[in-house]
Symmetry: C2
Subunit: 347 residues, 2 copies
Amino acid sequence: MNKINSLRWIDGALELLDQRALPLRVDYLRYNNAADVAQGIRQLVVRGAPAIGCAAAYGVALEALRLQHQARDAFIAGLDRAMSILAASRPTAVNLFWALNRMRARLDASFDHALPAIAADLLAEAHAIADEDVRLNRAMGAHGAALLANNARVLTHCNAGALATAGHGTALGIIRSAIEAGKRIEVYADETRPFLQGARLTAWELQQDGIPVTLIADNAAGLLMHRGEIDAVIVGADRIAANGDVANKIGTYTVAVLARRHDIPFYVAAPLSTIDRATVNGEAIPIEERAAEEVLGYGGTQWAPAGVAVKNPVFDVTPADLVSALITERGALSTPDRAKIAALFDA
Amino acid sequence: MNKINSLRWIDGALELLDQRALPLRVDYLRYNNAADVAQGIRQLVVRGAPAIGCAAAYGVALEALRLQHQARDAFIAGLDRAMSILAASRPTAVNLFWALNRMRARLDASFDHALPAIAADLLAEAHAIADEDVRLNRAMGAHGAALLANNARVLTHCNAGALATAGHGTALGIIRSAIEAGKRIEVYADETRPFLQGARLTAWELQQDGIPVTLIADNAAGLLMHRGEIDAVIVGADRIAANGDVANKIGTYTVAVLARRHDIPFYVAAPLSTIDRATVNGEAIPIEERAAEEVLGYGGTQWAPAGVAVKNPVFDVTPADLVSALITERGALSTPDRAKIAALFDA
């Protein structure tokens, strides 16, 4: 059992830790059908590419359980609709589509069974996706931990932790694994405007584990690097193109450019399910734009003047040539490119 | 008369526009002595290097008026104390020290006069500093406007506008002058965490003048540059070293690094009084650290978890080699360096 659970299955329903309320309140919201799960994803109750994938898988399972006593046609049509609704919830993170494809494949494999058996199979598949996610994160953690020196000061952007996954985390999983291996690691967390995943989630999550963390404004990363106070950068990813370009939280590209200027290694940690071999390069990754309100203020408080125009793209693309290594469950891939990534899948 | 006045002299007292309350409230606070002005500077009621200089000059004048009927010894001791208190209010912006030196020189020149005459002279000097600031900003505006193409999309960081000066502004003054010259200019304003000068002040100030402005999270600047949506960057400065290194609001260095990567011109607009020839390079500029509360949340609302460590340096240094041109009242100095800056003062 993890200390922090972004999602959990309890008494036949999915519960999502409401990440909008963190760190002020630790609330779990309960979900019984796919449309509500899709809304939870859209509203950022759950976020982080791997966690979104897990939530979507459970969304399909919930719908199957809900419809298992209906006619077969209605059941299949309902699952199709559920998958469409879930697929439309957020555009950038590819794990969402990967998880839905896995659920579709399991549905196809179970197609001849009775509906309750199909529903049970789909729930088992969702559990498998979540369990596997934690296992992969632990594998990634071991590979990545080897890259961190004792006493390393690691900058991270956004939250690629237990809260962004089914447990352990990708970027923060590497930090956890390094600490479990006996290293002392200090984390700098970019606050990550506009949604403040760093200030609210990464800071809180690391505090829960007693890992030393210092919060900074996103603007301060350059000065800290210039002063020699950052030894490595580790971030997660929402989608990695076939050539190694990385879509991740807005501002990640800036951190990568700064890291390159200061010769600081810039690591990306993500499972293979985050690599989208159908996306040729970063230019082809859809970048979600969210509401102006996120930039005008925070959580109901507005500090910008009324009526001002806003642009709020919430992801950006870091070109592969700025990535020192891509850390997956299969190991650390230095200076990733199209050929190396293709080879990773054939391994 | 400017439309926006960061400071004004009314009925024998200094009034400062409370920039902590903008844009929600337009409140002027009234000051009658130097210690209160110093506190206003420290608390960011007034901010922006030139405006701080003007406020400090008025602080000295207020003290002289307050003490003009005391004994000469008490008067001089009081002014000395006032200048010390004002000098200790904020460490980075050099215009503060420049303005105090000017007031000290005026005091020395008037030393033999009766105290009320000295006080009148000091008030005249404070008015002269403020009037001159607006004139210099207009000169800078004309020089800088020539560098902007029609339809230019200009990114700015923090607020180097009328609110940061006695009027017209440095960086925003160039934009105003370009528009007065008939050009169409679109501004992107970085929100500028943690104190949100971009979201609160630049957005509001440009709205007052009907200048098109789009607010973005600091994290979005890299993506916009990558997409080709930024044609130039203009920022102000808090102190410029003798070699051209520029201390300015935290995050400015990041914007400069991004601009260089995308071959976008990066302009710094500042009067000669911002150049500190006694500071050999950027490493010698003191960088103010402010309270953790500024990063933990905003305006009394805290969103970060209690007890998390914070680093809050509020300025950084952009090395001269990232500056495309330094725009002063004497013209635009391309690729500034020690020799060119020295020559500027001899011109």
